[in-house]
Amino acid sequence: MRTASDGPEIEFRNVSKSFVLRDSRTLRDLAASLIARRPLGHEFFALQDVSFTVEHGECVGIIGRNGSGKSTALKLIAGVTAPTKGEVLVVGRVSPLIELGAGFHPDLTGRENVHLNASILGMTSKEIEEEFDAIVEFAELQEFIDTPVKRYSSGMYARLGFAVAVHSNPDLLLVDEVLSVGDAFFQTKSLAKMREFKDQGTTIVLVSHSPALVAEFCDRAIWIDHGHKLAEGRADDVVAEYLERIPHGSGVGV
């Protein structure tokens, strides 16, 4: 078991991320732009010169308005996109709870999708076998596990996705607004599961535009606005500052 003294679990070193917004993507436009020597689109910075670290076992919330760059930060941590400038260092197995069930295939049964999704998250076949019953039980889908997931309700879909992700034995849990899915009962259960992770010392990064949840759940918070880090510190302090500056903040509560 690693301890906090092993160094940061996540480190952002002067990270900038820009996208080129392209109006179209055909070879004709490429040829035209090569001949005219003009760029294919205009550059847009989602993050600019952002640095922070997350220590092992910490629970950190990232807050900000829609389009502030917080989801981009999460994608950089998840490793699906690379920084334009700077460096992102991540240690350990990351389990992203981003839009649950993204990897589900509608025609496959719940059982088959558990295997598929778990292996996408990096579990071996042996690990999946060991965790399978716990996953199904947590999702409360024992009766429907051999039904194609296209017959599932959106709540069932999300429950199964969440169940797989939390059983993937992650070192680092990335949570993006997922707690808004499912009924109140499942929300409570999910939060309880996340607390369990927190108590076990799993590093958690929570992205939310719900300041209340961040203040309640996280140790530390980072506030990102227009791609810049505005504040970083104790979750209570950062959330208080955030609420002060944006009095009509969107969505208080889970």
Binding site: R25, A82, L116, S119
Partner: protein, 282 residues
């Protein structure tokens, strides 16, 4: 807590060193469980919601064989290589060709079609096109079942040299993957690529000796077109080892293998160099 993967993780390689990039192939081997699940996912999705289901894997090659035999043998009198029945001659070439063309077409769309995954979670992206190609192995298998039935019908057996087939097919597989990797990456940026693949496949089909034998009917000065076309080299070799009991023309197969491996190494390198931008381009 057991950890299956090394702690230090750099998911998106941006190295330009070819050796470092090619070492990524070890990741593909490590994630073979995922490759398996992904292949099953493709396979299950392929014929679901269709009445005939997997029977389509029989219908397509069978109907093509019947019509092509009618047009090219009965009407145009193309004739086979060593007087074996034309449908048999045709089918030994057609089955691998159908594998090649369907693998290339579906592999090209593999990353574009998995947008929701690519933008959310990291795994070695080459799993997607590789699984798409592996899925087509099932169609290939059904094709060979039909070939077996055809041989029974004409009262022939595969020649003793058929043991060369796995080696020849391995070269074919490497060639397909080597083409699919860069094509599916480019298709993300320019959706024209998939249309281009469709056009090129049609032209390539006629320049590959599927309908006609690679014998002295091909003028000597055009022979080089077939020598640098691994599909032609391999289909000719399949016929030798399955139908005629000859060894493959090793000089030509050797050149084909060099082209296939070269395509693979270059294609994989291009894919890995473009990989970091996938999620931003979907």
């Amino acid at each position: 807590m057991a950890r299956a993967y090394p702690l230090q993780r750099k998911p998106l390689r941006t190295s330009t060193n070819p050796i470092a990039v090619w070492l990524g192939l070890f990741d593909l081997w490590r994630r073979r469980d995922l490759l398996w699940h992904m292949t099953v996912r493709h396979l299950r999705g392929q014929y679901k919601q269709s009445v005939l289901g997997y029977a389509w894997a029989f219908v397509n090659p069978l109907s093509q064989m019947v019509i092509m035999s009618f047009v090219f043998s009965t009407i145009l009198h193309v004739g086979s290589q060593n007087n074996e029945p034309y449908p048999l001659f045709l089918f030994v070439g057609l089955v691998p060709w159908l594998f090649f063309s369907s693998a290339l077409a579906s592999g090209t769309d593999a990353v574009t079609g998995a947008a929701s995954l690519v933008t959310k979670v990291y795994f070695p992206r080459e799993v997607l096109p590789t699984a798409a190609v592996f899925t087509k192995l099932v169609d290939l298998f059904f094709g060979f079942v039909i070939l077996g039935m055809l041989m029974v019908y004409y009262g022939t057996l595969p020649a003793a040299t058929v043991y060369w087939f796995p080696l020849l097919f391995a070269i074919h597989m490497i060639f397909v993957l080597g083409l699919v990797y860069p094509l599916c990456a480019l298709n993300l940026y320019y959706h024209d690529v998939r249309f281009l693949v469709g056009v090129v496949l049609t032209l390539w089909f006629y320049l590959t000796p599927v309908l006609y034998p690679l014998d002295d009917r091909v003028p000597h000065r055009y022979q080089w077109i077939y020598d640098i076309n691994p599909n032609a080299v391999l289909i000719d070799a399949y016929r030798r080892v399955i139908l005629y009991g000859n060894d493959p023309d090793w000089k030509k197969v050797g050149l084909g293998a060099i082209i296939a491996v070269g395509t693979f190494l270059l294609g994989y390198y291009i894919f890995k160099r473009m990989e970091a931008g996938f999620a931003d381009s979907i």
